[in-house]
Amino acid sequence: MYGHTGKIARINLTTRSIGTIDTGDYESWGGGHGIGSAIFFDLCKDKTIDGFDPANVVTIMSSPLAGTLAPTVSRTEVQGIGVQAYPIAWYTRSNFGGRFSAMLKAAGWDGIVIEGAASSPVWINIVNDKVSIEDATGLWGMDTWATQQEIWRRVGGGSVNFDDWWDVAGSRDAGRTTQRPAVLANGPAGDNLARNGCLVHDAGAGAGQGGFGGVWGSKKLKAVSVIGTGHVKVADPKTLMDVRLWLARNHYLNVDDPVRQPSTGGVGMGGLAAGRSTPSVDNEPNRVTGCSSCGFPCKRRSESGTFNDSQCVDQNYWSGAGLSVRDMRKATDMLQKAGVNVYDVSGFRGWMNVLYQRGELGIGKAIDSTPLDFSQYQTLSFAEKWLDVLCRREGIGNDMAEGVIRAAKKWGKLEEALETRDLNYPQWGYSAHWSLPQVEWCYGSLMGDRDINEHCFSFPHWTAAYTVGLQKEGLTAEKFVKQLTGKMVPYEDDMFMLDYSWRNGREEITGIYSEHRAKMIAWHRHHTRFWKQSMQFCDWAFPNFINAQNKDMEGWTPYCEENTYKAIMGKEMSYEEGVEIGRKIWNLDRSIWVMQGRHRDIEKFAPFFHNQFFQPFGAVTVYQDDKWQYSMEPFMHIDAAKFENWKTKFYNLEGWNPDSGWPTRSTLEDLGLKKVADELQSAGKLG
């Protein structure tokens, strides 16, 4: 078997038993998310349970391509019933980078399945083939960084110098490495069952969405550590190297001789000048770092050691609140150590401050913020205190640990806040992101389980529209649309998939309420389920539709994905075949949501999403006056009635019953999912 190691660790914390699952039994699902969902479906007998229930099954899956030279795939997919979404905490997923995935493969495992719940705190120790459940009593309540350091110490027997070679199992023949164990750790928030608790690996790689920190807390699971000295079998190493070099020669930014100046193309267009999305502070020296095998490293490590690896939205924890950039970075480090999901709390603390300014929240007010004194809101010490009370569930922290939506509900503010957009959370209690005008983002999130967090279209739209230089070189809106849709197999002939018209009569013909948009959303859901969440090509680099560092602006998709897969796995997988497997995975996930209570009637946006509001950023492509153009659409919002009509088009395209949104037997059986259809039928929920 190439790519896959062939086995998945199956760990039951209730019975403290450790077994294996043969990866080959699930190989038709590709890997990563696909295999995770299939295992969850088989092992979690009652899909309607709460995420905190011991019977919840959590999968931690690598990619079949990880642990090799394949670019960007050292990512890990975490799945199970979450505790964050509202009103139903859906079966969900989260994903993190770093070196955990590659290390898991080096240890000989394709993934880990966690069942049951321990009676006292534990951590899991994986050293090559050996898996053990260890006592975590002394680790409980510890922050994520201290936990990792302590586990490194324990795995190394207290004497290992990780700057040199060491014998991982006490003898040279058992394997040697220069690496520290890769640890995925829960923080004090998750230990205390916070719904916004997240899992953190190394300094800043985190599985944030879904509340898996809280889920692990309910299982009394503090951390998973893995160290491996093996390797992954690659079918054709030379071709893999050739693909990697082809990428570097034709698409990477050559800083000495760029095809175009870096200012004409960022990460979404390929050729990211690494580490650029976090500005340096006071010219502090720093160096670039990235996940294992990444070709486009996006993180940085600073001389002072602050803000290491925190690259994305985590930097927003206390932004826009009067802190200096240096203090904002310190606040972000506090967040990483606490193991708290920035997407839930950055909007949360801002909204709490709004309530404070209005006199509704504060010490002794209607919403009593004790022990938090919001007059100190613009200080670093308050940002630290805010996390501390959440992690300890002290005073108002008990509400904060339930997440912003449930706290708002308890305070009697939810309906009002979702009407006024004080809480910018359009679906399932998840924060807005590029939700508008990139409608694939909000549609995909609503048809799914969470904020999709997939930049497939927002990155190229951002760069193409804002980069006048590319437009002058011929990247017209029409060429842009043609190039993107040309890669969207099997719908590649339909340019109107990228018509973002939302008014003026075109919206239901070719625009955002049309059948073309239904195809686009379907393609996006299917594509990402396989290529992004199962093969785990990084969201920040794939798909690469257009590339500013390529002379012809041609992106590396799908050549890179298809040829990387073939080189590692020793068999063909066309881009379209991958999308089709993604459709199967998407339908399995959909069926699980249906069992949990999903129905057409509840697939609705928050009320504010139907009102006109000003959102100035994000250019899109529109077809107007018989031509394509880039356009800013700052007032785009969703018409409720037209969206209902669009849902019917989408359900029909997916083969779901348009009255319920439930998959039909014929759709599921065509995908080889007869047993899923049978289970839905038993539950009275077959479409």
């Binding site: 990211l272 999305s277 976090t278 994305c312 300014q357 000003f614 100035p616 950023f617 250019a619 356009s631």
Partner: protein
């Protein structure tokens, strides 16, 4: 940069007053990764500190933009604080994009005046603090 005359003590005090209710104004931040996020701004001082648009960062997809529609800002300063001179100076800056027909070009030019407008706000804030004897923090 447009020279601003020294404001009256009364105006300086007003500009340093914290706002509430309908006087609070909405600004926003954005980056290619996180999308657009709204912020309520409760004071002139906060606005001067908040605004920041690095035009290079837009094409590079690096860093975060802190933005407000300049015309909203102009009206806020004129109607909430009564600072006609500063509002006029901001209005003058908006001339560069008012006639743009292309929405993307319009937006980029809007972004390009944010930092010059911020400089005006910072200058005004310094004047206020000089009059009232407070140390500048921005």
């Amino acid at each position: 940069m447009t020279e601003l005359s020294v404001p009256s003590r009364e105006l300086a005090e007003k500009l340093l007053t914290r706002l509430s209710g309908k006087d609070v104004v909405t600004a926003c931040s954005a980056d290619p990764y996180s999308g657009s996020v709204n912020y309520y701004i409760y004071s002139f001082e906060e606005m001067a500190s908040f605004l920041d648009v690095d035009m290079d960062s837009i094409a590079n997809m690096a860093g975060t933009i802190h933005f407000i529609d300049p015309e909203v800002l102009e009206k806020w300063i004129r109607n909430t604080y009564g600072d006609e001179e500063l509002a006029d100076a901001i209005s003058e800056q908006t001339d560069v994009y008012k006639n743009c027909q292309d929405s993307v070009e319009y937006h980029i030019k809007q972004l390009s005046i944010i930092n010059p407008v911020k400089e005006l706000l910072v200058r005004r804030l310094e004047q206020c603090r000089e009059i009232l004897g407070k140390e500048s923090k921005v």
